[in-house]
Structure formats: C-alpha cells, structure tokens
Amino acid sequence: MSADTSSAIGPVESGSLYDVDNPAPLIEAPRKRTGKTPRATRGNFEMAAWLFMRLSGVVLVVLVIGHLLIQLVLDGGVSKIGFAFVAGRWASPFWQVWDLLMLWLAMLHGANGLRTVINDYAERPNTRLWLKGLLYTATVFTILLGTLVIFTFDPNIR
C-alpha cells in the first residue's frame, strides 16, 4: 500500500468498524422462491380474505361507531351501563343481531389482520405456526363464547 492510498482513507473512521470481539451483524440470505411458476387457481383464499377486510371494515365503521355512541355518549353516557341496561337491549332481536354481527366481523377482521402481520413478520416457519395456532385458538374461543352468551342470555339470572 502506498502512502497516498492510505492517506485517502479517513483517519479515525478508516478500516473496519468491527473486529473479533465486536462482530458486524450478519446479512442473512433470504429464502429463495421456487423455480417454477405457481399453479393457477380460480377461487383464492387470499383474494377472499382481502375482499373481506375491505367489506367488513366498511360495515364495522357503522357498527362500532353506533355501538360507541349508544354505550358512551347518548343518554347519560357510561354511567347508565349496568346489567339492566344490557338486559334491556338484548331483549330486542335487533340489538342481538347488531352485537352478534359486530362480534363476528370484528373478531374475524382482527384475526385476519394479525394473520397477515404474522405472515409478514414471523421469519421462522415454526414461530409462524405457533403464533397462528395461538391466534386461531383465541379467535375461535372468543367468537364461540360471545355467540353463546348472546343466544343464551337470561335476564333473570341470579
């Protein structure tokens, strides 16, 4: 190395910033896509999921804003909420359907959103599997429990 060569390199910052004790972060190789063109499919879960997110989102805006208004703003706000209030509302099939729809759409919408987050961020297939397993279990449990409560609700419970 000639003198002028090394002088062109900055004094403090020259050379490697890392050494044996302070290794540089490794750039990991990405997984490679397969060499062949994927088989064409007509009906497609990903497309259905994508569409569902858009449509359920629109419906949820109405349902959730209405829900929040009734529960928190109109007619006395939060203070009026109690067992009697809920029992009174669920006496009408309209509110039963409203809450049922909201439960299902919100849970599926949220679950699908988390599914895509897991797909995008979990790097190891095993992590992915476990996270999704947990997610699906929680979703199914909440949906079933909620549905059960709405349908079997008994206002005279002691």
Partner: protein, 252 residues
C-alpha cells in the same frame, strides 16, 4: 486569469469545487470474512458529481477490491440500484450535493437479496419472479404481415409501466419481500401490468391467474415504498392496485 487582483483570495477559495466526502460502504467478502462490515473512505470530490463517480474514484484510486455493478452510468440499464443513505436509488442518478455531503454517505447493497460481494446481490430470485409473469407478448392466430397497430389511448393505458428498467429498487424496498422473498414483488407485477393492459396481448387472463397466487398481488400492503424507490418515477403501487381491481372486477 481575468480575475481582478482584489478578488483573488476569494476566487481561489471558491475555485476548487472539491470537497471531502466520506463514503461509508457496507463491505462483504465471503473469502475473507463471514461478516459484513462498514468501511469509511474519505475522498475529494465535486459535490455536483454522482455517487457512482465517488464509487469509481474509490475503486480506481483507493481500493480496487470494491465491487459493484454498473453499466450505462446514465440511468438506463438498471444495474446499480443500491441503498444510499437508507433509501434505494440508482448510484448513477444520485448527486452527492443532494445527499448532505457533510455527513458520511452510507452505501449498502439492496435488501432482501443474498449479498454475493460488497454491493453485488444475487438477482436470480428477482428475475425468477419477473420470468414467472411471462413478460412477453402472447397472441393467437396468424402473424400479421405488418406491425400490430394500437390506438394512442390504448397505448396510454400502460404507458407508465413500460418505463421499468428492472433495477430491483422497488422489490428490494418492499417489507413483504424482505420477509421470505416469496412475494412476487412490485417489479414483477409492474411488468405483468405492462402486458395485462396491452390491448394487443391475449394472455392477460393467464397473467392475472399467476398474480392471484397466495404470494401474488394480495400480499401487497400498500406500503408505497416501491413508488418512493422507483428511479423512473413509475407509480408502482397504483399499478399493483390496478391489477387487484382487474382481478376482482373480472369475476364479480
């Protein structure tokens, strides 16, 4: 020269356009070390020059082992996309003065593709996705004896996506592609769009089917990184959404 004597001192200080710029380059050489390291090079350069000129200076005058791709040096061939100051750009279209030369300019290989050496990545997965969408004209029937005519409006429909130079700046800026590299990536979809919306082409359906795959357009989260990264100013995200719309409207 003709400069008045009084202004001489001032003229001299402004005569040299050269300033010292530090290039902080991500070096990787698998024959030397498993690890990629940052290395700084301070060079004298005119800020009106481009990052590519800086890299040339380093390679030719300082360290001949610095490795990067470039061919045309004028934004046409698409071989020198790299991550400059954290953004994907073409080194040959990025002026040093636009980058705040007081601070070190970081230069890294594009993300999401295997680094082979220094700034060179393995482009094979990228081109595999490109080939997968059949980027060529497909027609049925007899060859016409003259060119296939098309109205100006029909040509306009896909004009934006004809500009792609396959630099991979968009695909390697996409967080979905970074995850597992299975997503087709914006560039492949842009090049499918170029034929799907071409009135002369007859394999649009087939290409839509390919992009309807689970790693196709539906993995797009409209992050808009691709549109920001494209050195040709292609509205990449819009093209992807147009493909999505075509997929849905063709069915319902």
């Amino acid at each position: 020269m003709a400069t008045p004597v009084l202004d001489k001192a001032e003229a001299e200080s402004s005569a040299s356009p050269y300033i010292t710029v530090t290039f902080r380059i991500r070096r990787f050489n698998p024959e030397v070390s498993e690890d990629a390291v940052w290395e700084d090079f301070a060079i004298e350069i005119d800020p009106k020059e481009r990052v590519l000129d800086g890299l040339h200076k380093i390679k030719w005058d300082v360290d001949g082992t610095l490795t990067f791709r470039r061919s045309c040096a004028h934004g046409i061939c698409g071989s020198d996309a790299m991550r400059i100051n954290g953004k994907n750009r073409l080194a040959c279209k990025t002026l040093i003065k636009d980058l705040n030369p007081e601070k070190p300019i970081t230069v890294e290989p594009i993300k999401g593709l295997t680094v082979l050496k220094d700034l060179i990545v393995d482009m094979e997965p990228f081109f595999q996705a490109y080939r997968d969408v059949m980027p060529f004209l497909v027609t049925k029937g007899n060859e016409p004896t003259r060119e296939r005519l098309q109205s100006a409006e029909d040509r306009e429909r896909f004009d934006d996506t004809t500009k792609c130079i396959l630099c991979a700046a968009c695909t390697s800026s996409c967080p979905v592609f970074w995850n597992d590299g299975q997503y087709f990536g914006p560039a492949a979809i842009v090049n499918a769009h170029r034929f799907i919306f071409d009135s002369r082409d007859e394999a649009g359906e087939q290409r839509l089917e390919i992009l309807n795959d689970k790693d196709g357009v539906w993995r797009c989260r409209t992050t808009f990184n691709c549109t920001d990264a494209c050195p040709r100013g292609i509205e990449v995200t819009k093209a992807i959404q147009e493909v999505k719309r075509a997929l849905i409207t063709r069915r319902f």
